[in-house]
Amino acid sequence: MANHQLTSLIRMANQIAANNTHIGDENAEAEMVANHLSKFWARSMKAQISEYLNQGGDELTPIARKAIGLMSSAG
């Protein structure tokens, strides 16, 4: 529970996804979000969120999940 960073990261990823979800094409949206994450997030943040996704990523919204998947495979 004491993982502050992860809590923030989940929230941030979902927020980024929520603000990029209106182009109508889910893949394009996920790609925008993935781009944003690789461009602005630190290495440790990317690693943490990818790991969280691998463990299920329950609290991530669908677009955020897809984006993090994309980012990890590209990374």
Partner: protein, 966 residues
């Protein structure tokens, strides 16, 4: 023949009597036999002054319109009767003017005699002695006797007014020239002064015959500067006497970037006089820049390096060498134990470009990671993101002067008369000339009701509804066919535009459909959109009310969309203009403070860019972005981030959710703070490196118009080192060598590595006065207006900006929305202004609330109110105010003990993590005592001041502060 004088070459220390004419028609006339060519509309007085024929004057000054009241400037003009006043007479082609002959001489002596007969003759002991225009003119006209004596009625006993902390008013010396009255109206736009009474009885009067302090006066000092006598005079001059030399430098407070002549006696600043050659301020300033410089020599300044092993211990004063090697050893130790990425640093928007550049260089090259961020994170990072995405460059598009060409001005979430006062004055001037004004702000800012200004619309939108509002504006423009089709076709990306048009045209964005979100009546919003779109030149100015939201970046893009759609980009009078908070916010962003960008907004993942930096710096650079400030705090709490170098920034007070920040700071093993005071952050530090004020160093600041201004050292650094020297010494101690001899060498390195700075150098700054970047082969003298022909990304990019409601909304538990802001007399966290007499205007933060909300809670003016949010609770005094709308409360965060940021949450902008200072759901209740947090703060503060005093008691000490690290 004397040629027309280029205003750029004019002598800024000379008063030409009347303002320059901007006409392009040139005319030639003859003055005292000298032929001179001037722009049409130039006064005879100014034409003469340009030819160095200096006609005596008293009521004229070249920053004011000619008034023609004193008549001392009378001249003869061939073919005309009488002796017209040269200040009010326009020069005409072929005119032949005589400025000196016996008749004029006699006339002037007579006028002077009348003045002097009602003027005390205590020149030798007068504070203006040596700098008095009345004295000068008496000398010029050859006054030798005063026949009337002082026995008649006079004003010699008139009472003085010392109420203002910075200047005195001595009416006995007044010659009723009304320069002060006109300066207050024309230049400052406050209209606090009038000439009361008529004829002999006439006198200058603030407000309704009140003392200055009780009038509407905002203490800008324009009247003091305009006064030709000692009637209005700086108290510092009355005390110390006239200064003996001066140095031109730049204000270190806000993003306007006013230039000043620091008028000195030895190494002591006697007064600051706004510099006429300052290209952002043209000789005007506000109370902060002109008067509030006393903090620089305040006794709280810390001038010796200090160290301690833990924050529970007293400080120990040590030599520079010891402090630096202590810091270096600790930081390296942390890296060995927790890894390369376990430390980082924060650059300051208050420091110079050169200093900021050096700090991020130290982090990237000496720490070996990209964990650098800046306080701009918490104010304007969305501007960078939003403008770069849409327009291709992370900066405002105009000069300040551009507003004088605007026909409709929209001010969104900004409070220029308080936060950017000199720009506010210019804006008010344009509004008095008839430009239309639309204000979008939850609170009634002063601009809405300023004298002689008519506000077309004040859109009182609900905090958090910005994007819904801007989308509705765009919807009106597109659905009513008000867009600039030619501009869009020629200058904007078609695919992006089509997608955006489809999006924005959806009915759900209409003002009618968004009214329930924004609270703005649809008809009013439609009318405002029409005014902006139909204006020949429409300009948008915005501030932190736009950026400090969970959708700050979306809002910035929404604003850019609006400007693109209406073709309001790429010429004078239009544009998208972020009003930057601190003096060097623009510069600190430009200089690579952000974790993902090297200087010049060049991404760290770009191999070619990195290669250039790597070869110049001789290290390998990390290709992944580093941590942002909020990420650093999170990582600190998780135990992966352990050390930090923090220059000139008070994150403990300025960042949101204070409880969280304090816990993070406590968890650090080594916090190095470099500042001029023991600020709130320093109370958690292990190493304190004393900083230097802007008066103690050389460098540059970049203002909100991308203007690079020189900062010049006027006194030696109190602690022996300028800030850049400290960073350099720390870097050397860490084993990464830096060997600059002067900040100009740092600028040369910046120019070499930053494509938008290629042609910037101290030499060129000296020559041009200031430079607006981009400044390179394409624009060797800089770029006043951006995007004139194309965008750095080619075409303008419309961005889709979906409104996403913030998670921070009012609930039953927290039914009010708190928004935060600034006031004129205090600056940001107040570390500087609280240590000046500006305290007189604002000695505490208060909670402003609407009478209805107050009544519902039984709160009266001045009551203690507890303000609670889900993040924390604090207590302030209540101020009931009609400026607020019901349901919205407001405060400032200039004082640490008021704890405004204990209440703000860690919500932030989706793209940049800029905190959502502008929306916090709160409850307010009447209470009788300070909050728990405040009691804890008081105890902790006491304890830390005790630790500081211990260090100071150990004096006197040896001469060990001899310069280290060179």
């Amino acid at each position: 023949m004397l040629q027309y004088f280029n205003p750029k070459q004019q002598d800024f220390d000379k008063d030409y009597g009347t303002p320059a004419s901007v006409s392009e028609n040139l005319i030639t006339l003859e003055i005292d036999g000298v032929s001179i060519t001037v722009p049409e509309g130039t006064s005879v007085m100014r034409a003469a002054a340009l030819a160095d024929i200096n006609i005596p004057k008293l009521c004229a000054s070249d920053n004011l319109e000619a008034f023609g009241s004193c008549r001392i400037c009378a001249v003869e003009i061939e073919g005309r009767r009488g002796t017209p006043a040269s200040c009010t007479t326009p020069a005409e082609a072929g005119m032949k003017v005589t400025t000196q002959n016996p008749r004029l001489g006699k006339l002037r002596r007579n006028i002077m005699e009348l003045y002097i007969s009602d003027h005390p003759l205590d020149c030798l002991t007068c504070p203006a002695n040596g700098n008095c225009e009345l004295q000068d003119v008496a000398g010029e006209v050859g006054l030798r006797e005063v026949r009337y004596g002082f026995s008649g009625d006079n004003h010699l006993q008139a009472e003085k007014d010392h109420s203002n902390p910075y200047f005195s008013f001595d009416p006995s010396k007044c010659i009723v020239c009304s320069r002060c009255v006109r300066a207050c109206g024309e230049v400052q736009g406050t209209f606090a002064l009038t000439i009361d009474g008529r004829g002999f009885d006439s006198k200058v009067s603030p407000g309704q015959n009140q003392p200055f302090l009780d009038s509407e006066c905002v203490s800008c000092g324009a009247c003091v500067q305009a006064c030709p006598t000692s009637t209005l005079m700086e108290k510092s001059v009355i005390e110390a006497g006239q200064p003996e030399h001066s140095v031109v430098t730049t204000c270190a407070y806000c993003g306007v970037g006013c230039q000043f002549k620091a008028e000195m006696k030895g190494s002591e600043v006697i007064r600051m006089v706004p510099y006429k050659g300052g290209q952002a301020n043209h000789g005007h300033s506000c109370v902060k820049g002109r008067f509030a410089f006393g903090y620089a020599t305040h006794e709280d300044r810390i001038t010796k390096p200090m160290i301690r092993d833990s924050i529970d211990q007293p400080w120990r004063e040590v030599s520079w060498d010891e402090a630096l090697s202590f810091a270096a050893t600790k930081l390296r130790g942390i890296q060995e134990k927790y890894g390369r990425e376990s430390i980082g640093g924060i650059t300051s928007s208050r420091c110079t470009n050169e200093e900021t550049y050096l700090v991020q260089k130290l982090i990237r090259a000496a720490f070996g990671n990209n964990n650098t961020d800046t306080c701009a994170r918490v104010c304007h990072s969305p501007t960078g993101y939003g403008l770069k995405t849409t327009l291709g460059e992370s900066a405002g598009t105009q000069t300040f002067d551009s507003v004088m060409q605007a026909d409709a001005v929209m001010v969104i979430g900004a409070n220029p008369t308080d936060a950017h006062p000199v720009f506010g004055s210019l804006l008010k001037k344009r509004l008095r000339q008839g430009a239309k004004l639309i204000v979008a702000d939850p609170r009634r800012i002063d601009l809405v009701k300023s004298p002689h200004v008519q506000t077309q619309h004040h859109l009182t939108l609900r905090p958090g509804s910005n994007v819904a509002f801007i989308n509705a504006m765009a919807h009106v423009i597109m659905s009513e066919g008000l867009e600039d089709k030619a501009f869009i076709a020629e200058r904007c990306d078609t695919e992006a535009f089509n997608a955006w048009r489809n999006f924005i045209s959806e009915e759900r964005h209409s003002p009618e459909n968004t009214e329930s979100i924004t609270g703005i009546p649809a008809a009013e919003l439609r009318s405002a959109a029409r005014i902006y779109a139909n204006a020949k030149n429409g300009a948008i100015y915005y501030g932190l009310g736009v950026t400090e939201h969970s959708q700050g970046s979306s809002m910035v893009m929404g604003i850019a969309n609006l400007a693109l759609a209406t073709g309001n980009i790429g010429r004078e009078g239009v544009g998208v203009n972020p009003l930057r908070g601190q003096n060097n916010v623009q510069g600190s962003c430009d200089m690579g403070s952000f974790p993902h960008e090297l200087p010049g907004y060049q991404h760290v993942a770009d191999d070619a860019v990195r290669a250039r930096f790597e070869s110049a710096w001789g290290v390998t650079l990390d290709n992944e972005p580093g941590l942002r400030i909020p990420n650093m705090f999170d990582a600190a709490l998780d135990g992966t981030y352990k050390g930090m170098y923090c220059q000139g920034e008070d994150i403990a007070q300025s960042d949101p959710n204070t409880n969280h920040v304090q816990a993070a700071l406590r968890s650090l093993e080594c916090l190095v703070v470099q500042d001029i005071f023991l600020n709130e952050t320093a109370k958690y530090a292990h190493v304190f490196l004393p900083g230097s004020s802007f008066l103690e160093k050389d460098g540059t600041f970049t203002n909100a118009e991308r203007r690079i201004n020189r900062v010049r050292k006027v006194m030696p650094p109190l602690a022996g080192l300028q800030d850049w020297e400290v960073t350099q010494a720390l870097s050397n101690a860490l084993g990464y060598p830096m060997n600059y001899n002067h900040p100009s060498e740092i600028m040369d390195e910046i120019a070499q590595l930053t494509p938008t700075f290629t042609h910037v150098s101290y030499e060129r700054l000296e020559k041009l006065g200031s430079i607006q970047w981009p400044c390179n082969e394409m624009a060797p003298d800089g770029t006043p207006t951006m995007h004139e022909e194309s965008f750095p990304i080619g075409k303008g990019h419309f961005a889709i900006t979906e409104y996403v409601a913030t998670e921070e909304r009012s609930t039953r538990k927290y039914p009010l929305l708190l928004t935060t802001g600034r006031i004129l007399s205090q600056y940001n966290v107040g570390a500087q202004t609280r240590r000046t007499d500006n305290q007189i205007w604002h000695d505490d933060d208060v909670l402003e609330l609407h009478p209805q909300d107050a009544e519902d809670r039984g709160i009266n003016n001045g009551d203690w109110v507890g303000i609670a949010s889900r993040a924390g609770e604090t207590v302030m005094r209540a101020k009931i105010s009609e400026r607020m709308q019901p349901g919205v409360v407001y405060t400032t965060f200039h004082h640490p003990h008021s704890g405004a940021n204990v209440v703000t949450t860690d919500n932030s902008d989706w793209a940049t993590n800029c905190p959502e200072y502008k929306v916090t759901a709160v409850q307010a209740v009447k209470v009788t005592e300070p909050s728990d947090w405040q009691q804890r703060y008081r105890d902790f503060n006491q304890q830390q001041l005790g630790h500081l005093n211990k260090a100071r008691l150990n004096e006197p000490r040896s001469e060990e502060s001899a310069i280290a690290g060179k």
